[in-house]
């Protein structure tokens, strides 16, 4: 069994499939082999679809042989979905006792679109309960770069699986940073698209105005490829945009010459871990050397986003969970219950005030993005912290990410370095509405000029 196959990019694997050098069964077996070997220690999966995935892979193999070609660029490739995405016939728990036996009879729209593109469901990845709280039932998803450290929340199972070669592509959801934070902690690529770009139909919701669904991969090109299939108007999601979807892989190689990147003066570069600071400064220099122009920008409201964002998320979450909390409060994990219950304590006036702040922040950011192509920030001010910290009093990991859930702008994290202890550091790029293409183009240019994405965690040594 070729374990290296599980570390190939979607793009590479597609080429190998097209040339019949490997089959979908080979790829699925390689990924399943690594899940069997490392999955237990990493706790990156809640459900593994072993036999079903192999059966789908055999069907894909036969279909490709009959047709003489693949259905599309994702056909025959495996995908892992965060366990908050509804999957027809496959248990969807959201890591909660409340949904422990829930087997949906339909797919979430993004799951259906990827399935129609020919992707094979390999499993459902671990998440904090309802994407916001406890990790009691299926364990803490651990960071492949240091098993004593947290993979990040809430799409940490997807991020850890990618970093460890237990998935070749994954999806996540992001309400305050839940794609970008674990992607940064685990050294992979994650995109929170523009609000409305990807349907949320079939996502176990947390906050209607802040939830996003997005792709998680090991390379920027793969992220673009996955978004191609996930994006687009969905009539059953009233927040879904009618904006046309370009081929996000077009123009990836256009480079960054002439691109203007905003570097915020406030908040994002304050109080950084020295190694994160050094990695970001080096990344900015690299972007400059690639032809981008750096421009300091003012975002004076940036330090104030956390509290209004927290009020909006938890007030909306309480609205969704109130009925269940009345009946089954004890079935919620302690941290989840406390956080969601807090949302029931705000007045409508406070919710409205938070929404007004949101307008002010969004206008401030949008105004800056009229002058620059993207804003560059650290994804987090520190690298991954110990599992014990997560189980005790973890820091606010949405420190630099919630801003773009509040405004709805697209934001992507890409690896930009490692600490001396071998922990990944992520760089965040946030761009104009529906301009994910520019983020991919800038991140791809940076990625191709560096080698961070080629590093592998030392799992074999830890085995």
């Amino acid at each position: 069994m070729d374990h290296d196959l599980a570390y190939r990019s979607l793009t590479d694997l597609g080429r190998l499939l097209d040339r019949r050098e490997v089959s979908p069964v080979d790829i699925v077996q390689a990924v399943l082999g690594r899940i069997e070997r490392y999955g237990g220690r990493l706790a990156s999966y809640i459900t593994v679809c072993g036999e079903a995935a192999l059966s789908e892979a055999r069907a894909a193999e036969q279909e490709i042989a009959r047709a003489g070609r693949r259905r599309g660029r994702l056909h025959g490739l495996p995908i892992a979905h965060k366990d908050v995405s509804l999957t027809r016939g496959v248990r969807t728990t959201a890591h909660s006792r409340c949904l422990l036996e829930y087997v949906p009879d339909r797919d979430a729209t993004h799951v259906r679109r990827l399935r129609e593109g020919g992707m094979i469901l390999i499993g459902k990845t671990n998440t904090t309960e309802f994407a916001c709280g406890t990790l009691d039932l299926f364990g803490v998803h651990r960071n492949p770069w240091d098993l004593g450290r947290y993979a990040g929340g809430s799409s940490g199972g997807s991020a850890a699986a990618l970093a460890a070669g237990l998935a070749v592509a994954a999806t996540g959801s992001d309400t305050g940073g839940s794609i970008r934070v674990p992607a940064s902690f685990c050294g992979v690529v994650g995109l929170k698209p523009t609000y409305g770009r990807v349907s949320r139909n079939g996502l176990v919701p947390l906050s209607w105005s802040m939830d996003h669904v997005g792709p998680m991969t090991r390379t920027v090109a793969d992220c673009a490829l996955l978004l191609n299939a996930m994006a687009g108007h969905d009539p059953v999601d009233p927040t879904s945009a009618r904006t046309p979807v370009p081929d996000f892989t077009d123009g990836l190689d256009a480079g960054t010459r002439g691109v203007v990147l905003g570097v915020p003066r406030q908040h994002f570069y304050e109080g950084l871990d020295p190694e994160v600071d050094a990695a970001l400064r080096a990344a900015l220099r690299e972007l400059e050397s690639l032809g981008a122009r750096l421009e300091p920008v003012d975002l004076p409201l940036a330090p104030y986003v956390t509290a209004p964002g927290g009020i909006l998320i938890m007030a909306e979450a309480f609205g969704l969970h109130a009925a269940r909390l009345r009946e089954r409060a004890a079935d919620y994990g302690t941290r989840t219950r406390r956080r969601i219950v807090s949302g029931g304590c705000y007045t409508s006036g406070e919710y409205e005030a938070a929404a007004r702040f949101r307008v002010a922040w969004t206008r401030e950011l949008a105004s800056v993005l009229e002058r620059v192509d993207a804003v560059v920030t650290p994804t987090l001010p520190h690298p991954a912290f110990p599992v014990e910290t997560q189980l005790g009093e973890p820091p606010d990991t949405s420190w630099g990410t919630r801003h773009f859930n509040m405004s709805g702008h697209p934001a992507l994290t890409v690896p930009c370095g490692f600490t001396a202890a071998g922990l990944p550091v992520g760089m965040q790029l946030a761009g104009r509405y529906f301009d994910e293409a520019s983020l991919f183009r800038i991140a791809h240019a940076y990625e191709q000029a560096t080698s961070w994405h080629t590093r592998r965690p030392p799992l074999e040594a830890a085995a």
């Binding site: 523009t194 609000y195 409305g196 105005s209 927040t239 945009a241 009618r242 904006t243 046309p244 979807v245 370009p246 996000f248 077009d250 123009g251 990836l252 256009a254 004076p300 409201l301 330090p303 104030y304 956390t306 509290a307 209004p308 927290g310 009020i311 938890m314 109130a322 909390l325 009345r326 409060a329 302690t334 219950r337 406390r338 956080r339 219950v341 807090s342 029931g344 304590c345 705000y346 406070e350 409205e352 005030a353 938070a354 929404a355 007004r356 702040f357 949101r358 307008v359 002010a360 206008r363 709805g408 104009r432 509405y433 529906f434 301009d435 994910e436 293409a437 520019s438 991919f440 183009r441």
Partner: protein, 73 residues
């Protein structure tokens, strides 16, 4: 605004009770901490906004100019 004589814990307990939610003492202490921190943060946030904050008109990002798909390159 909190009625005179009511402390934060009483207020939180009462707000939740009105909605049919009962909380234990351990949960209550943490919930009060979260709510008080966010309220203080919201006050600071509103004070940082220059002028009267605008009323939200819903939350749907605008389509790009001409509703055209943005292109890379």
């Amino acid at each position: 605004m909190r009625p005179a004589g009511q402390n934060a814990a009483d207020e939180v307990r009462a707000a939740l009770a009105r909605q049919g939610i009962t909380v234990g003492e351990d949960d209550l202490a943490v919930v009060v901490k979260i709510v008080e921190a966010n309220r203080a943060g919201l006050e600071r946030a509103l004070a940082a906004v220059s002028g009267e904050p605008e009323v939200p008109q819903g939350f749907v990002p605008p389509a790009p100019p001409g509703d055209a798909a943005p292109q890379a390159g």
